[in-house]
Symmetry: C2
Subunit: 162 residues, 2 copies
């Protein structure tokens, strides 16, 4: 069970978009080039963010993506779910229904303990991601990334932001 690489891509792209000045957009092309990713496929991840309402888009030259809300109001969970989906990681195929001792008319009213426990763990994962804002990430990165690299990356982006 491994998250798709698009999750990593989306998080990195949002971190970049968080640094964009108000009202400006950054294109798929620029984001793909900056991260060394296939443009067409990265586009699918960005479309996921767009469909989830996390980013605004603009067409034409100088178009692209920008965040739809402030980084402090955007959680990791929203970004992850936008590309990975909201389905729980444990799916129950109801194998208890195959129990040969089970009477024909027996009705398993609710999910059993196995499923509930697995879903609780899933929820713990989501709760952790829900507790981290995009602004938290930017704060950490701004401290950890080498100042020259931080600055030159920022300029690189600004040159290409429409």
């Amino acid at each position: 069970m491994i998250l798709k690489s698009q999750v990593e891509w989306a998080l990195h792209c949002c971190a970049i978009l968080a640094g964009l000045p108000d009202g400006r957009y950054l294109s798929t092309k620029a984001l793909a080039e900056f991260h060394g990713l296939p443009k067409e496929y990265l586009s699918k991840a960005l479309q996921g963010l767009s469909q989830a309402g996390l980013v605004d888009t603009s067409l034409g030259p100088s178009g692209g993506y920008r965040l739809a809300k402030p980084p402090a109001e955007l959680t990791f969970l929203e970004i992850v779910e936008a590309v990975e989906g909201r389905q729980r990681t444990f799916v129950c195929t109801n194998i208890r229904a195959n129990n040969p001792c089970r009477p024909k008319d027996h009705c398993d009213s609710s999910p059993c303990a196995v499923a509930r426990i697995m879903w609780e763990a899933d929820e713990a994962w989501r709760a952790k991601l829900r507790g981290v804002k995009l602004s938290d990430l930017v704060g950490i990165l701004s401290q950890e990334v080498a100042p020259e690299l931080w600055k030159s990356s920022f300029e690189w982006v600004l040159e290409r932001a429409g």
Copy 2:
């Protein structure tokens, strides 16, 4: 990102094995029939449990599987990891290394905040599963499963346990 169905199978099988009297074994054949699962493929999941040291095996007629330790000392996490593996669910492909502004000699010493945050969430998931014992599951099931079904299932298993 969805856990393999073998996880569900392994948990159910362990729950059954937890009810076995001391020193007795239950075969793949019986476990597969009880849960309505493909015997050969379920066998792979049980081999995973065996390789992880969670169950003991015995060959020949009346052979099969039994728990290697008491249900109170066997956690959900151990069972899940035995079939799903211990790899983290977020893998970092180090796309920051593709940053065009990055100097050639630049060395990214450690995992960045993105990866650390995702790994923390992963650990929260594991911590939750680590906190649930197989005995907890059996306790809940014994209360929730209809008494007649619980009893007849128990008898069905005993008839086939070597």
